[in-house]
Symmetry: C2
Subunit: 353 residues, 2 copies
């Protein structure tokens, strides 16, 4: 019998993208699909592959008979409910941060370590953070050939990483500043937002995003580090299976709706040329090269948003660092960075069932 | 007799900021001031320290009797006219890229190498590129204490780096996309700009800046590198006097009006702690620490634009790299990044005259 798939968090920012993905997928291994959300959203109707489904409220019994449950909800909801789903027999693919560093939970990017999906003593498989995921397909491919040793990364992260509230905030902020000629004196963006009835206290971000960049992503973790920066380090190590990988990340939010970008400085065990890197990327179906800088061709978030692949450009050999490449990657943080990777894991589970 | 100061490019983006600086400076060592621009702008009236001055057209004779001539004009204008001014007896302080890497032209940041202003066989002193300048006061201070060896930098560069045209383009692009809900599908920002009569061919940038970031700054120089990235490397080496400094830079334009930001990963010869770095920055008058991440306090461009100092925050010890700090700096690219540094050199010349 075809397996049953559940989607927890069906009405959120990632959940909506997941429904797009379910509707667009060429193969369809599933029987029943259940859409699950908070009691507030229960009763809403959403269409999956031509069938109108009613969103059900999260409760233990909704997981009865579910084979694979994809969770796209905040950490605390996953922490509470993923074990409940697993106990009722579902394999959970969780996109929160609740289980990623749990030794008994594999952290999976299909291009890097799909073989790990069978080892799941808690019945839970974790999906990486969107920032890490945005570069993993590209880095995993290079690692297999050249042996990754060091990573210095700076991010340009989209507001949809903070969900629907982040997107609505950016649009509202832009509407409040446009035509005002602000951004030229310290604090005039803040004043324009206050004047428009958009106090910062109502924002999911700690500073204005309109006409600004904000060097803070996630929660503060001590010693100067925010959570997103530590996730890039710890999750990269776990996914690539390099426990001593050297990583420094600076995570910065930018006024982009969707698609994270990263400036990557990657050092390898073995020598690597730009031509070799291009061949490796060409051979990786989920990586698309957009790299003709002489003609102004490189990936930008607004040009690749909505796409499934990781887009790579600006590849160059570091002038002063041996065995080192610099490059720029863009990946849709809601698709490969969240929903798509989760679904790819679920699909692989269905194929094994 | 008090020396005569000339400002070439008085009506441009940097020239306008320079006039603000002239008007706000507490000390005033100058006698006559001459404002110079292209013939197109000649005849305009601008007020400097209460006196209305008429902008003069660029010509050899306007430099007669000038002691210090500050040039804020494109490379090709400087290349042609700075030697003319020098030949007529002026010391030129040039903010273009025309002479920066000339062995007979010192490249000066007062905090780093003011002693070099006396060695000027061509009568020309160069002002660094704005991206390099945005971090130089901070890096110079750390270098003196700990010995800088390696630098991996990613930039978040403001549109005013491309002059008035860059600022006008960003404002026009934002007006064209706001309220349209774009930025969610590949190419919809481009479509909105086309629909608003803003074809990309009219932009100083090679891709849309509204709701986007663009990994390209300057002109293409081969092997994957854009000019701004090579300037960061070569100018940092020259200013700091470290010919073998290892540098990798990725320069990215962001939708910010003014103030460049940089994510800096800096490795030193000697061990360095966050506390030591804070003490060094505290002792450097032109560096301001904005660094209390637990309370969401860090520099952002919209909060520091218009200020003279270099603002530093997010200082942390790299977890996996010895003797290495990660931090985030913001500096007004039109002030310290251009006009202010140029004027500081001119002022130092006046003091020596």
């Amino acid at each position: 019998m075809a397996p049953t798939l559940a989607l927890v968090g069906a009405t959120g920012a990632v959940g909506s993208v997941m429904i797009d993905i379910l509707n667009g997928r060429p193969e369809w291994p599933w029987g029943e699909v259940r859409l699950i959300a908070s009691p507030r959203s229960a009763g809403r109707k959403l269409t999956v592959r031509g069938e109108e489904l009613t969103v059900q409220a999260l409760a233990p019994e909704v997981f009865d008979g579910v084979d694979v449950a994809m969770f796209d909800v905040p950490d605390e909801i996953s922490a509470r409910w993923a074990p409940v789903a697993a106990e009722r027999g579902a394999v959970v693919v969780d996109n929160s941060g609740a289980f990623r560093m749990d030794d008994d939970v594999p952290l999976v990017v299909p291009e890097c370590n799909l073989d790990r999906i069978g080892e799941r003593p808690r019945g839970i498989i974790a999906n990486p953070n969107c920032t890490t995921l945005s570069m993993m397909a590209a880095l995993g491919a290079l690692h297999r050939e050249f042996g990754l040793r060091e990573l210095v990364v700076a991010s340009y992260q989209a507001v949809s990483g903070a969900g629907v509230a982040g997107v609505e905030r950016l649009y509202a902020e832009l509407a409040a500043v446009v035509g005002k000629g602000v951004g030229v004196r310290a604090g005039d963006v803040r004043e324009a937002l206050e004047a428009a009835g958009l106090p910062l206290a109502d924002s999911p971000f700690p500073a204005p995003l309109a006409l600004n960049v904000v060097p803070s992503a996630g929660s503060y973790k001590g010693d100067g580090w925010y959570s997103e920066e530590l996730k890039v380090r710890n999750e990269s190590r776990k996914i690539l299976g390099i426990p001593d990988l050297k990583v420094s990340a600076t995570c910065v939010r930018v006024p982009v709706v969707t698609t994270h970008s990263l400036a990557v400085h990657a050092t390898f065990e073995r020598p690597v040329t730009v031509e070799q890197a291009r061949r490796v990327f060409d051979a990786q179906p989920s990586v698309v090269l957009v790299d003709d800088p002489e003609r102004g061709v490189f990936p930008t978030p607004a040009d690749v948003v909505g796409g499934d692949p990781t887009y790579v450009g600006r590849i160059r050999q570091a002038l002063d660092f041996p065995n080192t490449l610099d490059f720029f990657v863009c990946g849709d943080n809601l698709r490969k960075g969240a929903a798509l990777n989760t679904y790819e894991i679920a699909e692989a589970l269905a194929a094994r069932a």
